[in-house]
Symmetry: C2
Subunit: 335 residues, 2 copies
DNA sequence: TGAAAACACGAAAACGATTAAGTTATGTTT
DNA sequence: AAACATAACTTAATCGTTTTCGTGTTTTCA
């Protein structure tokens, strides 16, 4: 492996001169610097991130928390798309991505310890149990952090606008003439709480009555549970005319149930998803859904964490609301 | 930050002793070692991966190549599941995962340079253009590498068994009485070549004639292109009774086309997917498909790269065939 | 009991890079 | 021309660990 030392010998200058020339310091003559850069390249010199990190205490490495539990995790297109965009944007800004977990080999460590061990300059917390003590420890530490879809006090958070999303969905469905609107929500998370509150308040504002039996609980990304909830809704005496699903993928479970009962979407029952994953737009009829802007979420997350890392004093903790977009699709019938 | 030095002072022993005690060397008295470990923990000592890597030339970090081009990439459930499993298994074995790309900030580098820069002990090459010169450079370097679904000479590869997969599919369809079998394949990749060859040879062996117009080209993971191919197939005078799709997701495009023409699956047209993603099993009728064992792929990839890293002399380059499984589903009609 | 072996620990160099502070040589000012 | 500023380098310390080679002490056993 070619080091700066090798290069310095080859150029007949000191180690320091090489380091400065390579990092573009100004107190090196332009001709010398150029010569050093040329020979370094010719010799196949590569910087050593470990040495650099050790000395500078900056790794240019961002930790990412992605715990793959049942519902969310990498298999969910929303998250894999966010990850993809964090990765791309971070790389553009000169940072690499390392996954942070709670164990490494046989030694178990907290997220914080792991991130410190790897000298991460900051951490993006994407998909985890935000109530876990280890997550709390991490956000309360001195490490820069950015969370996705969950707010911690005095910390930057990138939020998909679930409140507005739900408002737009309900208003759209209302505009289409629906007054019997059912909502199948996901398991009890911060996201679910926001959507549910928004659903209830918007319905109230529009004067839409929501009987208790119109609100069902299911599991995100699990068509089976939303299928069961759908069945219960269809069995009601006063069945809803429109069902809102926790996410696009879960809608499949509802769709099966509806079709199996000989009903058709949207003629007999209208339906709306959430997420705007690829699937929603290749189904026929195209699913009405609220597209979450995963691309912007990822980009903003990367931008924010880098900003905090590079300007720790001037960057302020903010909550960035990322608006989504209603995709009307063809699954909500005009009544 | 607490270092070994701090600990050594606190314990009144030398730096060397602390290092040995912490790494479990034998030439330290058991009582001293225990005392050192206790105080280290009490003081909140954390090892520094950068310093360790610098000294030992081992980072316990595995690079992963995941370039997100159109068809494959993280948004494809097959790959995101593999990534998830590589991650989990690598962590179990004491390694972290870092994404390797071709640029970092404004400096562009090859994969090899990036991996070297980050001191990766090895690289898993998952989803890229395997013919790219930079990929070639990487696999021809001294870095341990493992590839997925593509073989390089003298290198370990984890292969989803596309040959057998196609054999099983064709035999299954044949057993169901189909003799007019069409195949819509993906773009020209190594995987496509294998499946196509296997399709042709199996059909030949079974005495099934495959007219040229029964073999259509589409794009992986793109329902639109497979929809178009499906339309062409349906327009043939002598239309096939069964269509094999490049992947489960692409099947959606075909499904829409078929239903739009007033035909039904499987009564009028039978269909088979490939991958066995979640979607395939929540569709009604359940899609016949060949389940690729992404979990095993990921686990084997992690195991293999770690084995090569830790036993460079005794580990041999092998091609590990990961068998999949035919899921019969309900989309192939008995003729 | 005395020499060799085993044990427990320390000193110091090294990994590759960065950087504060010091040293020349050259140029500028008055 | 003396004094000073600037440009262009160099020296040497340092980041936190690991590891080789010693060294002093204790144990072992003939």
């Amino acid at each position: 492996m070619i080091t700066q030392k090798d290069t310095s010998i080859a150029c007949g200058v000191s180690l320091a001169t090489v380091s400065k020339a390579l990092s573009g310091q100004t107190d090196i003559g332009e001709d010398t610097a150029q010569h050093i850069r040329d020979t370094a390249k010719a010799m196949g010199y590569l910087p050593n991130a470990a040495a650099r990190a050790l000395k500078t205490n900056r790794s240019h490495n961002i930790g990412v928390l992605f715990e793959d539990k049942t519902s969310s995790g990498l298999r969910h297109e929303y998250f894999s798309e966010i990850l993809q965009c964090i990765k791309t944007e971070a790389e553009r800004l000169g940072y690499d991505i390392t996954f942070i977990s709670r164990n490494l080999g046989n030694m178990s460590m907290t997220y914080y310890e792991h991130a410190k061990y790897r000298n991460c300059d900051g951490v993006v917390i994407a998909s985890v149990d935000f109530r876990h003590p280890d997550v709390i420890q991490l956000v309360e530490s001195n490490l820069p952090t950015v969370t996705l879809d969950y707010v911690f006090d005095s910390r930057t958070a990138i939020m998909s606008d679930n409140i507005s999303g739900m408002i737009e969905i309900v208003e759209y469905v209302y505009k289409k003439g629906h007054r019997k609107i059912a909502f199948i929500h996901g398991e009890d998370t911060s996201v679910t709480q926001k959507r549910l509150a928004s659903f209830r308040s918007t319905c109230a504002r529009l004067g839409v009555n929501v009987p208790d039996e119109y609100v069902k609980s299911a599991i995100f990304h699990d068509p089976r549970s939303s299928g069961l909830a759908t069945r219960e809704l269809l069995a009601l005496n006063d069945r809803p005319t429109c069902i809102l699903y926790p996410d696009d993928f879960s809608f499949i479970g509802g769709m099966n149930e509806i079709e199996q009962q000989g009903l058709s979407i949207p003629n007999d029952i209208s339906a709306v998803g959430y997420d705007g994953i690829l699937l929603s737009q290749v189904l026929r009829p195209r699913l009405a859904t609220y597209r979450q802007d995963a691309v912007t979420m990822g980009v903003k997350a990367a931008e924010s964490i880098v900003d905090i890392i590079e300007h720790p004093l001037t960057s302020l903790p903010v909550q960035i609301m990322v608006p989504g977009q209603l995709w009307e699709g063809e699954t909500v019938k005009q009544l």
